[in-house]
Amino acid sequence: MTDAAATELVTMPSRRSRLPGLLTAIGRQALSVALTFLGLTCVTFVIGRMIPTDPVIAIVGQKAPEDVYQRVFHELGLDQPIYVQYWRYLMKVLHGDFGVSLFSSKPVLHDLMNVFPATIELSTVAILIGVLLGVPLGVAAAARQGKLTDHVIRVLGLIGYSMPVFWLGMVGLLLFYGKLDWLPGPGRFDVMYEGWMEPTTGFMLIDSLIAGEPDIFWDSLRHLILPATLLGYLSLAYIARMTRSFMLKELRQEYVLTAQVKGLSRTAVIWGHAFRNILVSLITVIALSYGYLLEGAVLTETVFSWPGLGLYMKNGLFNADMNAVLGGTMVVGIVFIGLNLLSDLAYWIVDPRAR
């Protein structure tokens, strides 16, 4: 151990030679992001070409004369070789052009920017619930491994893992809206507030405060509670489980024993020493669960009629609006890439060994 530490000291790069290392790291990271993004566009491109319907007929209609058909065929670039078509598609995507939604007849990007804040608002409140409850529960389970607390938390987690999210949402609505009448039904706010406010940020909670409308704030908060709590529970299950296993690994380390022998309290050892060391891994887990929440939005938003990205994609599916579906896929994919990058970055900042 000491030998290894000594060699590390000796071979530690000087301040000057660190910069190229950093540049290489950034370069590698950028290359990886670019490759994943290219892969994403390849997949959406292929999916877009798999549709059984003829894209030309979708535009000109069944009864179009042959010359009109040929002209549109040419305009769409369908007579070009496949790599030219992909290149055109890639350039369009890079310029934020996801095509026009057949359903809303607006550019898909415009639609996406309208619906995305609703999804972000819901997922962010949910992940806050998941982290604020899941992390302490995971730590508690690890600290009392094999005891009743541990078992209860484990079962709670397993139940969350096994729950079909759309069914949980329906049961929640049935209970708290249908039977108990404690909370409002589906939707983001009451119908009577429809069109009261011009969206500034797109986040209801923030917009209503800016506009000075406490009634709307209260109403949208009440609408948010149920879906956010249910989603928060699902991410709690994952976060608590991962926290527990990271924490168990850490508590077996020798420094934990040393700290205890030195007379530090158990709380101080757990939160002051062990917990700080699992922070890096936790950031990755939290980033991942945030991604899962966005993904699960398709199901939750359908159940709660939540006008976000998920519902937009689902409506796109039902109206054979492939541009909308692929645009949504692209946005979620990009957010995933971003979250991965962010957790790598967090690694780099929190853990000096990663530098």
């Binding site: 059984p52 893992y161 079909p164 069914w167 896929t329």
Partner: protein, 304 residues
């Protein structure tokens, strides 16, 4: 193959320190894993539920009191009675019978996804680990790209492009489910590719394909199978989610996710139409999670 002259008991034969044959060694190891699994009551509960489900699916035509698709419009949306233990749905079909037949669809989807994902993941992973170099770099890059994707969204986009239906749902799930298996198989292959028995096989003139299929794959199989058990709950949930969105099985098939979607508009008054199938999905996915957890603990001594 010679069996031990006179084994006192089967257990003694199974737990023998020095197995006499390959079969005895393999059975002995399976027995040890089973003992370890049997000590985990939750895992056993999971196993019993899954076996029960398989039995119910098998005997569905015998047990089910009604046809799963035949409509009886005079008896629609009935609450639970002796004649209809879980009530009837919006077309007067018996929910209990539909659940029984629906378990066949769920098991079929799990089976089909497994037989697509296993060979695909094993082929890509073992080839990547065995050949190394450029092949490894390219295959793992592709795997990483697929791993970085949102699975459900991608399955949804595939299903949307291919059109709804069970077959397409299976393809969509499989296309997004293989990367972890490729990763796992590659990692296992890397640990053995420099082994002497691989060299020996190569010197005897075995082709790479032969070595991969007969020496590398069997060694990767156990860990890949455990991972598959752990994933089955996820497959059940994804399939139900696609069904719920209308992308999986089509009416009038008694697929559980689809049944929930159909019952949605009667949620507040006839709650059983959609909540009962959801409960079935939950129980099955919980059972797979319990079993998978137990199997992982039993086969991975490091975690205990």
């Amino acid at each position: 193959m010679t069996v031990n002259a006179a084994p006192q008991t089967w257990r003694a034969w199974l737990t023998a320190e020095a197995p006499q044959s390959r079969l005895q060694a393999q059975l002995g190891r399976a027995y040890a894993s089973w003992r370890s699994l049997a000590q985990n009551p939750l895992a056993l509960v999971g196993l019993v539920i899954i076996l029960l489900l398989a039995l119910l699916a098998l005997l569905a035509p015998v047990i089910a009191p009604y046809s799963p698709v035949e409509q009886d419009l005079t008896n629609r949306l009935q609450p639970a009675t002796a004649a209809h233990p879980f009530g009837t749905d919006e077309l007067g079909r018996d929910i209990f019978s539909r659940l029984l037949y629906g378990s066949r669809i769920t098991l079929l989807i799990i089976f089909l996804v497994s037989i697509i994902v296993l060979p695909l993941g094993l082929a890509i992973g073992t080839a990547s680990g065995y050949f190394g170099g450029l092949i490894d770099t390219v295959l793992m890059r592709v795997t990483d790209i697929f791993l970085a994707f949102p699975r459900l969204i991608l399955a949804l986009a595939f299903a949307a492009a291919l059109g709804p239906g069970i077959e397409n749902a299976v393809i969509a799930i499989s296309l997004t489910a293989w990367p972890p298996y490729a990763r796992l198989a590659r990692a296992e292959t890397l640990t053995i590719r420099k082994s002497e028995f691989i060299d020996a096989a190569r010197m005897q003139g075995a082709t790479s394909a032969h070595i991969l299929a007969n020496h590398v794959v069997p060694i990767c199989l156990p860990s890949v199978l455990v991972r598959l058990t752990l994933d089955m709950a996820g497959i059940v949930l994804t399939a139900a989610g696609l069904g719920f969105l209308g992308l999986g099985a089509q009416p009038p098939m008694p697929e559980w996710g689809l049944m929930i979607a159909n019952g949605r508009q009667y949620l507040l008054d006839q709650w059983w139409v959609s909540t009962v199938p959801g409960l079935a999905i939950f129980v099955i996915s919980l059972a797979f999670n319990l079993l998978g957890d137990g199997l992982r603990d039993a086969l991975d001594s490091r975690s205990s």
